[in-house]
Amino acid sequence: MVNVRIFVTYKQSVFNPQGETITDAIHSLGFSAVKKVNVGKFFDLQIEPNDKTVAEIVSQVSEQLLVNFNLETYHYEVMEEA
């Protein structure tokens, strides 16, 4: 079994209203060093590879369902292999 974490975020070119609001809140806490926050989401998948590799499964699931390429982009990390 392979545990994979897929991160989905808005593209840099797309305005992220949550990120901006959170940035403002961080500034009001006094952390002026924080210049930008981008909010995204992640999906943890437990995969038992069969006829497809983990990379193939992750890219196909992401491209066909988890990511809307009009707005978003993704990357993933293999967390651990057991």
Partner: protein, 229 residues
């Protein structure tokens, strides 16, 4: 002309659409469950507002996988009229029947109010009873209605006059080019965030949505016959 109102789990404007078309306009209307897999005998399809599949993942993303969806896509590709309001618009973009996407409102708030719109294109199946550049008022009620498309797609939408409705006053959600509703390239699929079905009777305080349905009823049958031929 027989019209299908598709009902997904979490749809909540299906009855409003049905009543607007049937009770107010006298059209033949039937509810069609998301579990069905065909639209035989229908001349137009309406996707209602609401929160299909709980808005899980992204608004409209899961509805794309329902049983009825391949039939809706085929119906649209035949050039027959397909209309989606609010969540219906989100579903149409997720299904690839309309370009672009709807993202969270810039304000992060659910916005529920009546807003002024300009009818940018009165030559579509859905808008012939409006005057060109007419200003109308329609209710909106959404948290994820900020229309987004890349620059190239936006330019194409503008060039082909696919932008049918634009917010005329303050932009309520941050949509690019103040877009409130668009059609596909062939003009038979319309998606819009505002709710015309909530503005069809004087007792509701607003009848500006009525002419959208009347336009479709007047033009739709012809369009369907052309598509079949």
């Amino acid at each position: 002309m027989k019209i299908a109102v598709v009902v997904f789990p979490g749809s909540n404007c299906d009855i409003d659409l049905f009543e607007a078309l049937h009770t107010v306009c006298g059209a033949a209307v039937e509810y069609v469950s998301h579990k069905n897999d065909n639209l035989d005998g229908f001349d137009a399809v309406m996707l209602p507002g609401g929160f299909s599949y709980g808005d899980y993942l992204r608004c409209g993303a899961i509805a794309r996988f329902s049983n009825i969806m391949p039939a809706i896509v085929a119906f649209a590709k035949q050039g027959k009229p397909v209309f989606g309001t609010c969540n219906g618009f989100q579903i149409l973009t997720e299904a690839g029947l309309l370009p672009g996407a709807l993202k969270q409102n810039d304000s992060l708030k659910f916005v529920c109010k009546t807003v002024p719109l300009t009818v940018e294109n009165n030559q579509t199946l859905f808008t012939t009873q409006y005057k060109e550049k007419e200003e109308i008022d329609l209710p909106i009620a959404h948290a994820d209605g900020s229309y987004y498309a890349d620059e190239e797609t936006l330019a194409e939408l503008e060039e082909n006059q696919q932008v049918v409705f634009r917010y005329a006053g303050e932009n309520p959600n941050g949509s690019l080019n103040n877009i409130a509703g668009i059609t596909n390239k062939t003009g038979n699929v319309l998606g819009m965030m505002p709710h015309p079905e909530r503005a069809v009777e004087a007792i509701l305080g607003n009848q500006d949505g009525l002419r959208l349905f009347k336009s479709l009823l007047e033009n739709g049958k012809v369009a369907t016959e052309e598509a079949v031929r």
